[in-house]
Symmetry: C2
Subunit: 158 residues, 2 copies
DNA sequence: TAAATAGAGTTGCATAAAGCAACCAGATTT
DNA sequence: AAATCTGGTTGCTTTATGCAACTCTATTTA
């Protein structure tokens, strides 16, 4: 693969994908959001190869998406828990889930029914909004050029 | 890689990642949102290998995220344009961007400044909301078990 | 009109990841 | 004392990715 890296990219999407943009990382985060914390459980629930899981967990920990907690009274028992940074992926995961439900519904038409604990009503549809909460499409949005960082206009910032 | 596929997974996140969860697809979609449409431009802007780009474009087209349009008057000139399905990834991309900006800001602190064309104000922060638009965290949300599809309780649906 | 250039891909090859299965070492049960 | 469980490693095979060179139309340029 050689897998080109984007960690120094000027694009924050690229930088984000550099951390969670592989085939497994987001699924691991999702699983963690469901409450999974232990190595074997991730392995079982996701059906991921153990060496890959190992590698992904390490990466997520080193990127501070998860933290590794020793809960083994005396070693040999660890938990991987979401950090604030990891928890902050909630909107990303939900947006992806809703996209998947809308455009690639499950064969049986069943979508996971996420609801607000307080009201019991379904979670709203993720949308890009303006400052007043009104939905925005791509066409409603433009990129404001930064008010010139220095003398040279650099248009390559994305 | 062998890359395990999730296209028949019961998890819509997994199904979504199966289509756009690799290193390049979302960046291609993002680039398309910026207005890029032609092969060489994607190649140049993203710095992606041409064979990989070729493969990714084909996949995105076959998954109906992009469509390939012949604009060559007489062939040999094509454009890849977002479909509605592709455009619907807007919230995903924006959520990712905001996450990247928040937790991995660019070295120079510059984040892309997205604004609402109508008001000129910055785009709001993506958040999971309840039916009234109130923000929800992971802990505010629960999974409602489907009201029993048939006789057997199947708890493996995620 | 011939030659050069551009667009959109292919092809071939080297290298790095993903998947799989077997193996290990410390701690806990049986 | 033997069997399990947990969290990994190791070795090997199969794919993917990156890179560079090449191809085939179609459009420009000289």
């Amino acid at each position: 693969m050689i897998r080109k890296r984007f960690d120094d990219s000027s694009c924050s999407v690229a930088r984000a994908l550099d951390e969670v943009g592989d085939w497994w990382s987001l699924l691991i985060v999702l699983q963690a959001m469901y409450g999974t914390r232990r190595f074997v459980d991730f392995q079982r629930e996701l059906g991921i190869a153990r060496n890959i899981l190992c590698d992904r967990l390490e990466r997520l920990v080193s990127n501070k998406v998860l933290r590794k907690v020793d809960v083994g009274e005396h070693g040999s028992r660890f938990e991987y828990r979401l950090t604030d940074k990891g928890r902050d992926l909630f909107p990303v995961v939900i947006a992806l889930r809703q996209w998947g439900d809308k455009w690639n519904p499950a064969p049986d038409g069943q979508a996971l029914d996420l609801r607000d604990r307080a009201s019991g009503r379904p979670v709203g549809t993720m949308q890009v909004q303006d400052a007043d909460g009104q939905p925005l499409t791509i066409r409603d949005v433009f990129v404001r050029e930064e008010p010139d960082t220095r003398q040279t206009a650099n248009r390559k910032t994305r």
